[in-house]
């Protein structure tokens, strides 16, 4: 067995990776989303909606060619960390959290990112996207591995999210109605900056279902289906419903603006069926890296956040 010292991942390396993930997320569109939007642009028949989709495709290219952030609204940069059960960090996990904060402040100055984060009451801005509970780091764990995976995500902050306590009597129709409600609220005038990935959390507690909806929107790639066939079927039914709304990009008439629907579930109170929905905009800013104890870093586009272990059922 290696000692803890030789086994530990360097906190300086984590700071560098946190910077680089913010940079990559801000500039380059992940292939799943880029392909989805290009496909929508090709299929769109309404000229106003087609114009918008073609400008979005062009913007992805300008961002990469000129190394500019694809969207200036940095949203709220945040991190997801998947920690191997056998992983260790030099200085402990407090060092990881400090490294991630420093990497975010560095990226804000040098990418640059818009310093978007302010105190909610005084509106004070440190101009670095760091502050109280910011950036958040959400953790999950993975058995039998010694790496750490970090995902940087720049999540929009104002529109396109909602929560509601439904009940078993509301059933699947209740889910469909709420899905339409959130589209009615936020696709009109393009407030969700659709085309969007629709993430839905069903069950759990209020906070769990809101968290799952956001993770479903942000951390699964376009085309991914939930492994439960019944949930996968509902994802596809809602994709179809979304297309039929005729609400396209910016809320103009079109062939629909749902890139994909991702549903995650959690066991919940026997009397209730809480639901939350999040729309993730087309300027989807996400990058993932696996950091090994030997200092190796592998960057990739798919967060692979929803592992079998993360979705585990039963006692073991």
């Amino acid at each position: 067995m290696p000692t803890l010292e030789t086994h530990a991942i360097s906190s300086e390396l984590i700071r560098e990776v946190a910077f680089e993930l913010n940079r990559r997320a801000a500039i380059g569109i992940p292939k799943d989303v880029g392909d989805s939007i290009a496909d929508m642009a090709e299929r769109e028949t309404q000229k106003l909606s087609k114009f918008v989709l073609l400008e979005i495709v062009n913007n992805y290219k300008v961002a990469v060619d000129e190394q500019r952030p694809m969207c200036a609204d940095t949203g709220l940069p945040r991190f997801y960390a998947k920690i191997g059960n056998d992983a260790a960090v030099e200085g402990g996990f407090v060092a990881l959290e400090r490294s991630v904060r420093q990497g975010t402040a560095d990226a804000t100055e040098r990418v640059p990112l818009r310093p978007n984060r302010v105190h909610p009451i005084t509106r004070h801005d440190y101009n670095n996207n760091v502050g109280i509970h910011a950036p958040t780091v959400d953790y999950s764990w993975e058995p039998d591995v010694d790496w750490i995976e970090l995902t940087s995500f720049h999540k929009g902050g104002l529109f396109g999210g909602d929560y509601r306590m439904l009940f078993p009597t509301d059933g699947i129709d209740g889910i469909k109605r709420f899905f339409l409600d959130v589209i009615s609220e936020f696709f009109k005038r393009g407030l969700s900056c659709q085309p969007a990935i629709v993430g839905i959390g069903i069950g759990g507690t209020k906070d769990t279902c809101v968290r799952l909806a956001k993770e479903a929107a942000c951390l699964r790639v376009v085309g991914d289906r939930n492994p439960d066939p019944q949930i996968a079927k509902l994802e596809e039914d809602l994709n179809d419903l979304g297309r039929r709304t005729s609400l396209g990009p910016m809320g103009f008439k079109g062939e629909g603006a749902v890139m994909d629907t991702h549903i995650e579930v959690a066991y919940t109170h026997t009397g209730g069926m809480p639901i939350s929905i999040h729309h993730q905009c087309f300027a989807l800013r996400r990058a993932t890296a696996r950091i090994h104890p030997d200092g190796g870093v592998e960057y990739r586009e798919n967060p692979l956040w929803f592992t079998d272990y993360y979705r585990r059922d039963g006692v073991a």
């Binding site: 952030p69 990418v111 009940f167 039929r244 005729s246 809320g251 087309f282």
Partner: protein, 227 residues
């Protein structure tokens, strides 16, 4: 009113300040690019100017008549010059209270933003002044807009308001594309679009019952808007 399928979507290249004749020519759905000067303003600036009644840091009317509800992703190069990498609009409907003060008091006749404003607001203010509202496209195509900003002429109240809320004066060239949402006669592209999309949306609600538990203060008709 004809439908969005009939829009001509003509392209216009305007120099700031835009003349009343320039603005009168713009039709719904037309595509506009600017050369000249454009300044940013959102709630931080508006509170300072109109709630605190601070004297403007510059004579706005002599600068330009084009404002933009946005803030930049901006950095400083080695010689200390600001370089704007990208800009993205913020939703404009929140500025109903202050925008008429900017338009009437400082000569603003072009407002660039996100989502447009209410029809009544256009009729009350934009039509009266022959002003236009232009929507950014997408809305998140910030890199393209960043490319149209060739320099920062000035930035005001940076220390007090921070980068996101400060008043930035951009030098722009081929800055766009922007879509005409409200023309100088008070017509709105979104009113046209909503009339079209509400038809399909309403049909999809048929047969889906209201939720068991109601909430206070809600909009229940899917044809209505949330603001």
């Amino acid at each position: 009113m004809s439908g969005t399928a009939d829009l001509k979507m003509k392209e216009h290249h305007l120099t700031t300040p835009a003349t009343p004749e320039d603005l009168a020519k713009l039709e719904l759905g037309d595509v506009v690019y600017f050369d000249g000067l454009v300044f940013t303003g959102r709630i931080g600036l508006y509170k300072k100017l109109f709630d605190e009644k601070a004297p403007p840091p510059v004579d706005i009317a002599s600068l330009t008549n084009v404002t933009f509800h946005c803030s930049p992703a901006v950095g400083q190069n080695e010689s200390g010059e600001w370089e704007v990498a990208a800009v993205t609009a913020t939703a404009s409907f929140r500025f109903e209270k202050h925008l008429p003060l900017l338009m009437d008091g400082h000569g603003i006749r072009c407002v660039i933003g996100k989502g447009g404003m209410a029809q009544e607001f256009y009729e009350k203010h934009f039509k009266r002044l022959g002003a236009v509202f232009l929507n950014t496209v997408g809305y998140g195509i910030g890199a393209q807009y960043g490319r149209g900003i060739t320099g920062v002429k000035d930035v005001y109240w940076l220390d007090e308001l921070g980068i996101a809320q400060a008043m930035w004066v951009f030098e722009v060239k081929n800055f766009g594309p922007f879509l005409v949402e409200c023309d100088a006669r008070g017509n709105s592209l979104y009113q046209m679009a909503l009339a079209e999309t509400n038809v399909e949306l309403g049909k999809l609600y048929e047969g889906l019952p209201l939720p068991t538990l109601k909430r206070m203060g809600e909009v229940h008709n899917p044809e209505d808007e949330v603001f």
